[in-house]
């Protein structure tokens, strides 16, 4: 970044902490950007002439006579069609070796959409994964995270979902991505020939952690440009939001703020909500859908990060390793898409809601049978059948390597019903049973 004539330059820093520098300056705007000793910084506090700047990459090695240049503006991103296919860092500077883009400057972290200008989401996003499409259908304008343990293949799943979803633009916000994962995304997008509709803002583990704080706002500013100005369907992937929240806690800790639960800042809910609420459906067709990853520690969803996330997002997709089949599945009990009601049975086949509920209920019966078995009680014939059903259901539907159309998922489920149960046990409305109950099976009716 060059310095321009009207910019104010200072060379006398009065205080340095781990995260901030302070100096005397006048005429400075709140949240204005500055460059301190070549590093990007932002105004976080003004008290009379004392201005405190947060240095995103840390204050190591900054001398008291460092050059401080105020840029006279809040953080911005240059937007335009040329964003497509490009890779940027957390500041919106290219990291793909190509020149910076020319475009209109937009402030990041801008205002919220007026709620009365929104439209109720109603467009189904098929992903081919039955654990999602069948049980937890996604809708444009929705915001939903994967809750996953760090060792689960969530980045692979996200990439897969992104490529299968019918989106005009896919925007990746990578926070604390390992270099390998970053290259993985790059390769997958390249190999799929999808690079021209993908834009990435990436902070890897090699970059300073605090820089991550800028990534979601950068990604969402780009998303708003395409969704509002270009009326496009935009899918935003944010991975890993737990590392984003960790960066927030580092900052608040260094600034001596009183921590609340799990040493997270008291404003965590609002900070996360500001990001996730950018998900929106507009009446003219433009939309922003956010799929995120929140890694858990030891599956604990009561930790402040997943807990606050769950209170904000429209459901969650819970990944779990099913040891019976040795595959990762989307857990039907702990996962929930709160917007699925808006599409299943109306945008998909009318038997969808009933088939979904019946299968989950039978799967729950299997879980009870399993507990019985583990406690050494005898199993009834019904218990045995639910266990067999559960295994097939996991393998043929819940496993994340499934890739079929919704109609096929429904057919598969009906076949499993016919194979393992009587019509009474399945308990679905007769009109659907008459239409879909498999005939070639010799199950008793």
């Amino acid at each position: 970044m060059e310095t321009k004539a009207f910019q104010k330059i200072y060379t006398k820093i009065t205080q340095i902490t781990k995260a901030t520098c302070s100096l005397k300056a006048t005429g400075i705007g709140y949240e204005e950007m500055a460059i301190v000793h070549g590093r990007l910084a932002q105004v976080v506090k003004i008290m009379g002439e004392d201005v405190t700047l947060q240095i995103f990459s840390g204050t190591e090695g900054i001398p008291t006579n460092a050059e401080v240049v105020f840029l006279g503006r809040p953080p911005v991103l240059k937007v335009g069609e040329e964003l497509s296919g490009r890779f940027f860092d957390a500041y919106g500077d290219p990291i793909d070796g190509r020149p910076a883009i020319e475009g209109e400057e937009r402030q990041i972290g801008g205002p919220s959409v007026n709620p009365v200008r929104r439209k109720q989401p109603s467009e189904f996003i098929p992903t081919g994964i039955a654990g999602i499409d069948l049980n937890n259908a996604l809708v444009t304008g929705q915001k939903i995270p994967f809750f996953a343990d760090p060792d689960q293949p969530y980045n692979e799943i996200m990439a897969m979902v992104a490529l299968r979803a019918d989106a005009d633009k896919i925007i990746l916000g990578g926070m604390g991505l390992t270099n390998d994962d970053y290259l993985y995304y790059k390769n997958v997008f390249e190999n799929a020939g999808a690079l021209d509709r993908i834009i990435s803002f990436v902070n890897t583990t090699e970059n300073p952690p605090v820089e991550r704080i800028l990534v979601p706002d950068m990604a969402l500013t780009a998303a708003e440009y395409f969704a509002v100005d270009k009326k496009q369907k935009v899918l935003v992937l944010l991975t890993d939001m737990t590392l984003y929240a960790d960066a927030l806690s580092i900052v608040s800790n260094r600034m001596d703020q009183i921590p609340s639960k799990d040493s997270m800042p008291g404003s965590l809910y609002s900070d996360l909500a500001k990001i996730y609420e950018k998900a929106v459906q507009f009446p003219d067709g433009g939309s922003i859908t956010i799929i995120a990853v929140t890694t858990l520690s030891g599956g604990d969803i009561t930790h402040a990060i997943p807990d606050n996330t769950g209170y904000i997002t429209e459901g969650q997709l819970f990944l779990r390793k099913d040891t019976d089949i040795g595959k990762v599945v989307v857990d039907p009990f702990r996962s929930l898409s709160r917007l699925k009601q808006l599409v299943i049975g109306s945008k998909t086949r009318p038997d969808h809601p009933q088939v979904m509920n019946a299968a989950i209920r039978l799967y729950a019966d299997a879980a009870n049978a399993k507990t019985k078995q583990e406690n050494g009680f005898d199993l009834t014939d019904y218990d045995e059948r639910t266990l067999n059903f559960a295994k097939d259901y996991s393998n043929k539907l819940l496993a994340i390597d499934v890739n079929v159309e919704v109609d096929q998922m429904l057919e598969t489920t009906w076949n499993l019903f016919g194979e393992h149960f009587s019509q009474v046990e399945v308990g679905i409305k007769q009109e659907f049973v008459d239409k879909h109950w498999p005939t070639e099976n010799s199950s008793e009716v």
Partner: protein
């Protein structure tokens, strides 16, 4: 209220997020509203602390770009709402800006819109007569707002008695026209229009008395009305982990409850949930009036991405609108989702001010703030002998789903009904996930309300409710034993007892909020169903083995669920009941 002659001015001296320090040149009052001039954009802010000549103000909008020495103008009044016809069916933000009047897709800083319509004509009819002596809240006339009689009143701010000097004759007028002229005790004449203002943080006290609630407020939700009833003018709260059904339950209440007016305060929650109301309510019928639900509803939307400081204002704005309609003799139901977000906003500000933190870094006075707010609800007798009420139900979003946290605990002290949503019930899709036994209604124990039940529902109603709870408790106890000892490790009678509780759970406690019919049950219907399940409880059945018990009761439950899904007393309803009767006959013993 003091009149401040020369308006105080100030300049910005410091900024930390939305906390701004202002150097002032004159007197300021606590909670006074001021406007900060950010190069032409007026940011609204509220004084929250004064120290010498420095006022600490919380800004209701983003402070991005704000600079030291920007000028500030104080207004001399606290945060006020404008009260008058036109509030119904509106979508306001937390500061009563009309969201539909705002330009563009995005909310703009400093954009303030008129909460009412200046030019709209209202059909006016006088009520007061020349010579009448009225106090604040006294009715001078009424206009039709949608279908509701909207009273034009002596402003709440007026102290003492006022004599009506003249009344405007019936006709069509705007909110700014003079509807009556009154003289105060000193003989000074005052023109009254259709509108008045009131500071939201102060309770409106324009009523004669606030008795203990003594009537039932019907909600149509069985587990509330039958097992944990809320009184008209009562208070309740719904705590529950995320995804357990707080919002779905509140939306159900807003659609079905027996109230004249519903105010929904979406406080720090999802925008899409508000959009759902915007989208559905104009289409849905209010079964009691045949009009559209939106006609009796006002929405205060301060969603989680809207300015944090305005969350606090939003619940007070909602309460004040409620108090205004209560003073017209109406039954108001006020819903706030979620009061935890409001408490969190208080926490953010308290931390910024470096106040000594209480538990979980919430401000020390949180319990007092919450109980003060809940105390504004209530049933009131107005000065003219009529009555009006505000029933308030808030949700609480406990961190980690743990009810031992400050917001839940403070609210428990303030609210009289407790509707605990259980994760386990939600996981097993037993909706609404209200745990009937953990939950309670203090009103159920009020002699006033018990009398009301005996007179209006059933002479033995309180005993029947107690018995139903008892059956549920015993069923839960045996279910634990069955889990430990195994199905065949306990006597068959245990299974019988367990399933008699399950009947109550499935038929009374569970209810499908998304089913056209089942979602709301009339009191009559609830009484009939409770009697039916208690009859089953009193009936002896014979079973050979434990395996028969579950299968048999499941069939009974299924017929009764079909009854719940059928229109009351329709053919389908009676068919299912016949089926139930014949199932009962199969195993009934003397």
């Amino acid at each position: 209220m003091e009149k401040i002659n020369k308006m105080t001015k100030g300049t910005v001296a410091g900024i930390i997020a939305n906390l701004v320090f202002v150097e002032v040149d004159g007197p300021v009052q606590q909670n006074e509203i001021c406007y900060i001039d950010l190069e032409g954009t007026k940011l609204m802010a509220e004084v929250i602390k004064v120290n010498g000549t420095q006022a600490y103000v919380q800004v209701f909008e983003s402070t991005r770009g704000l600079k030291v020495n920007h000028t500030v103008e104080f207004t001399g009044h606290m945060l006020e709402v404008t009260l008058g016809p036109g509030i119904l069916s509106k979508n306001y933000d937390g500061l009563q800006n009309d969201l539909d009047k705002m330009d563009g897709v995005f909310l703009k800083r400093g954009e303030h819109t008129n909460p009412l319509e200046d030019d709209k004509k209202w059909e006016y009819k006088p009520i007061a007569k020349v010579g009448d002596v009225l106090e604040a809240g006294g009715w001078i006339g009424e206009v039709k707002e949608n279908w509701m009689p909207h009273k034009i009143m002596v402003p709440f701010k007026f102290e003492g008695k006022y004599t009506v000097k003249s009344v405007t004759k019936a006709g069509e007028y705007t909110i700014h026209d003079t509807m009556a002229v009154v003289t105060d005790e000193k003989g000074k004449e005052i023109n009254l229009t259709m509108i008045q203002k009131w500071p939201v943080k102060l309770a409106v006290k324009a009523y004669k008395e606030k008795p203990r609630p003594f009537k039932l407020l019907e909600t149509g939700v069985r587990v509330i009305d039958t097992l944990n009833p809320i009184a008209e003018g009562g208070t309740g709260f719904i705590p529950g982990p995320f995804g357990t059904g707080k919002t779905v339950l509140q939306h159900a209440l807003s659609k079905q409850a027996e109230a004249d007016m519903i105010i929904v305060a979406a406080c720090g929650e999802r925008a899409n949930e508000v959009v759902e109301i915007f989208t559905e309510f104009p289409e849905l019928d209010d079964p009691r009036t045949g009009r559209k639900l939106m006609e009796r509803t006002t929405i205060i939307a301060n969603t989680s991405n809207m300015p944090v400081a305005a969350r606090e204002a939003s619940v007070y704005t909602a309460m004040t609108l409620g108090e205004y309609y209560r003073a017209m003799g109406l039954k108001v139901l006020l819903l706030a989702d979620s009061t935890s977000r409001w408490a969190q906003a208080l926490r953010e500000m308290s931390n910024r001010m470096e106040e000594l933190p209480g538990q979980d870094a919430f401000p020390m006075d949180l319990p007092a703030i919450i109980s003060n707010f809940y105390s504004r609800a209530g049933f009131t007798y107005l000065n003219n002998g009529e009555s009006g009420s505000i029933t308030f139900i808030g949700t609480v979003s406990p961190a980690g789903g743990n009810l031992k946290e400050p917001v839940t605990e403070s609210t428990k002290k303030a609210a009289r009904c407790f509707y605990a949503l259980s994760q386990q019930r939600a996981d097993s899709k037993r909706y609404p996930a209200i745990d009937a036994l953990e939950s309670y209604s203090k009103y159920a124990e009020y002699p006033e309300l018990q009398d009301y039940f005996r007179k209006n529902i059933d002479p033995d109603w309180p005993e029947k409710i107690a018995l139903a709870r008892d059956i549920l408790i015993r069923s839960r106890e045996v279910s634990e034993q069955i889990n430990i000892l195994g199905d065949d490790g306990v006597p068959v009678e245990y299974h019988n007892r367990f399933w008699k509780g399950e009947v109550i759970d499935f038929v009374i406690c569970q209810q499908d909020a998304f089913d056209e019919v089942d979602r709301s049950a009339s009191l009559d219907r609830q009484k009939y169903m409770l009697n039916r399940v208690l009859d089953i409880y009193h009936t002896n059945f014979s079973f050979e083995s434990f395996e028969d018990v579950g299968t048999y009761f499941k069939r009974m439950i299924n017929s009764m669920k079909q009854m719940n899904y059928a229109v009351y007393e329709s053919d389908k309803y009676h068919d299912s009941e016949k089926e139930l009767n014949s199932i009962i006959e199969e195993r009934k013993t003397a």
